[in-house]
Symmetry: C2
Subunit: 197 residues, 2 copies
Amino acid sequence: MTAGPAEDTRTRLLHTALRLFTEHGVEGTSLQMIADALGITKAAVYYHFKTKAELTEAVAEPGIRDLDELVLRAGAQKRRGAQVDLLLEGFVDLVVRHRTLVALFSSDPGLIRAIEKSAHGGMEGFGQALLGILSGPAPDTTSRVNAMVALTGIAMAGGSPDLASLDDEELRTELLDVGRRLLGRPRRRTHLPVSTL
Amino acid sequence: MTAGPAEDTRTRLLHTALRLFTEHGVEGTSLQMIADALGITKAAVYYHFKTKAELTEAVAEPGIRDLDELVLRAGAQKRRGAQVDLLLEGFVDLVVRHRTLVALFSSDPGLIRAIEKSAHGGMEGFGQALLGILSGPAPDTTSRVNAMVALTGIAMAGGSPDLASLDDEELRTELLDVGRRLLGRPRRRTHLPVSTL
DNA sequence: GTCTATACCAAGATAGAC
DNA sequence: GTCTATCTTGGTATAGAC
């Protein structure tokens, strides 16, 4: 890993912030706590990030980027069935990859507000885009409810400490399964079985 | 409780606080905002509630009480099927009755922390109790995931602004339906009278 | 380029006057 | 029952050490 001495502190800040955010919530985590955890001062944090909102946004950025790309890829599919399948699989992958972060997205108003202020223009758009693809054009109420329960349920369950002991493959299979059931998609075995023990 | 002229301000405080909490989140709402909205000072708020956490707890109390009663009633059922059905129906009713509040429960770390500190000993217990009843004794992973997705999905969807336009009956039917599907309970479409104690 | 010292204002909280 | 004054901590900003 080619990391200069500057990136070191910045990266440690991002990791420490995410950890504390999941423990105490975004607004429940002070810059003082983050600084103390790293043995630096509050002002040092401000050298790397102009505001707390900017730090928060940087913490969330990897998840946002993946989400963005997912929405684009799904929207590019021709058949609606393919759109739904790709979105569901991609969303589950994303949740598994960023377990704690996605839980924050769905459950921390502090995170949402911090992002709203900043460049990305907020998170609302993503929620609506995901729901739009999953529930289709001119959806009836039941479709909308199913899509919402699927998305929020998968996100919250994936980030829950209760399921932290599951390995990625297992969690992925379970979430995909429940998602397919809710969205009325045929169930099939997941990607490639890594081993056939 | 004795009803006196004191209750007037107290009640207005509770209503105003809930409204601002749903708008800005618990930690995004300052006591100053609440005081300003009522035309009093911060210190006046402190006359009615010793701490912000206590005010927060008082706002959440009706929902907590209903949850508590629901867990007790469900646990008292003999057959497991009856436990699940009663819990699901009761939970959906509760979500519909306290739409905004339940959304706060599932999505605001500020609320959770405020309650954790106070008497009720936290909300963790309820989550575990609900999950325990829904997924049964010695549940497999799939059952646990289904129960988690059902509970969090129902709570979040019920409180979502996206579904705020649905009337209570419609929302109740939809949530019950999706819950039954996730939990593998037979679907029925009519109200059943809640069994009397 | 990286950080410390320090000061400012808003917010949670307390003490005491009216 | 409500207000003024005050204390502490948290987010923010800047000046300056190295």
